[in-house]
């Protein structure tokens, strides 16, 4: 019994990770629809006391686009822009099993601004076998066109509630289930997109895109992680989504990882499949009935019927103690993303390559 306790303490010490960490990360996306996005991020998490952590991050999306719907709508030459986002948060753990977190998330770019607030509570019970979390998020966004005065931008409010559970089934398996309810109210179309509409007189006119101003979204996901052995780990998950615009989707993913002794190196592969149906008001081609524009009209391929596959390879190496850090870990990941649009006239699909590189110092 004493030997078992001693071994357990050793295992927890070997696997125990420092609560303070600094992460530098960059993700690069490029597809054959001439869209490139480079997204750097810096994240800092500092333990102020055993009960309080603070967290701050900066992220950006540096976008260069000449995609087909951008070229036909916004600019004959495409566009370039940068989005910045910050987070600042506090996590409080009055007891080891109880946690509260609050986070402020402002983002801004030349045609969009957002102020978000996120709250999270967590509680572990049943001898820490069951962890329950509740996330609450609200954001107040302003949507406009580049060069337009902000006073003319339109409002969009988003509120989301997300309970989740994570349960230790046995010494090798953890299962989880999560649900999210999201409500969006306000301007939800693109101020840049125009929808071609066939007129009864055999002409085609372009009308500004118009979406309903209210959307309720439901997502239910379940997942499992299982240690096949001390070195091999498998994971799988499924998510069902449905919203008030009648978009429904199915997502399935699976992964396999291998960790060397003391987790000095970890390699993994994962795949994800996705299918969605189109929104109720989406049409590949609109026709005006009796000279009246359709109430809702969209040129958004995200609302069309589509499917996609995502596959990735990931590697991670622990460098051990470096300078002030107890452990420095470096990761790299490469992915291929294949998306197919079944009811989007301008584009049949796109293929993207994604590359990620990151380093985390734990201290």
């Amino acid at each position: 019994m004493r030997l078992q306790v001693a071994l357990a303490l050793c295992l927890f010490t070997l696997n125990a990770r420092a609560d303070s960490r600094a992460t530098a990360f960059v993700s690069a996306y490029s597809d054959d629809d001439d869209l490139t996005v480079v997204s750097p991020e810096v994240l800092l998490r500092q333990e102020l006391s055993p009960a309080v952590d603070v967290e701050a991050s900066w992220e950006a999306d540096i976008i260069s686009a000449a995609s087909v719907d951008v070229m036909t709508a916004a600019s004959p030459r495409g566009f370039e822009e940068t989005r910045h986002g910050l987070t600042a948060g506090v996590i409080w753990k009055p007891e080891p099993e109880i946690s509260f977190g609050v986070k402020y998330l402002p983002t801004w770019e030349n045609d969009y601004s957002s102020h978000g607030l996120a709250l999270r509570t967590g509680y572990e019970w049943l001898e820490r076998r069951l962890e329950q979390r509740l996330d609450l998020r609200a954001s107040f966004d302003r949507v406009g066109r580049a060069g337009e005065p902000e006073s003319e931008w339109r409002d969009l409010q988003v509120v989301a509630l997300g309970p989740s559970l994570s349960y230790v089934l046995d010494r090798w398996t953890v299962a989880s289930v999560a649900y999210e309810l999201q409500a969006q109210s306000g301007f939800q179309a693109s101020p840049y997109r125009f929808v071609p509409i066939d007129w009864p007189s055999a002409t085609t006119v372009s009308a500004p895109e118009r979406h309903p101003e209210w959307r309720v979204r439901h997502a239910l996901a379940a997942g499992v992680r299982h240690a096949l052995s001390r070195r091999w780990f498998a994971s799988g998950g499924y998510r069902f989504y449905r919203d008030s615009w009648k978009v429904s989707s199915h997502t399935a993913d699976a992964g396999l990882q291998y960790a060397t002794a003391r987790e000095r190196a970890i390699v993994g592969v994962d795949v994800r499949g996705y299918y969605q149906g189109e929104a109720s008001f989406y049409q590949e081609r609109y026709a005006a009935a009796a000279g009246t524009l359709p109430t809702y009209r969209s040129r958004d391929k995200m609302l069309s019927e589509s499917w996609s596959l995502l596959a990735g390879l990931r590697g991670e190496v622990g460098l051990g103690p470096v300078a002030f850090a107890e452990d420095v870990r470096v990761m790299a990941r490469t992915e291929i993303y294949d998306q197919h649009f079944l009811t989007f006239e301008p584009l049949d699909g796109r293929r993207a390559f994604i590359f990620q590189l990151g380093a985390t110092a734990e201290y």
Binding site: V5, S39, G85, K103, S164, Y167, Y179, G223, R230, Q356
Partner: protein, 68 residues
């Protein structure tokens, strides 16, 4: 949907053997932690959210954006 969640929770909590503290070494692995890679999870959720019509239940919280 609430009934389905409750039923799933009851199924998970029924009839499982206890897992003592000294048996949780494997569970402490980085490969078993869904929260261990926040930057990667956030980047993926952000990328997919800007390209697909569905979102949510990923456990990640990000700021709003006018992503095209």
């Amino acid at each position: 949907m609430a009934k389905a969640v409750v039923a799933l929770v009851l199924a998970l909590t029924a009839g499982c053997a206890p897992v003592h503290a000294w048996q949780r070494g494997t569970l402490a692995s980085r490969c078993m932690s869904p929260d261990g890679r926040p930057s990667e999870a956030r980047a993926r959720a952000h990328m997919l959210g800007a390209r697909e019509g569905s979102t949510g239940a990923s456990g990640e919280v990000g700021g709003g954006c006018g992503c095209k």
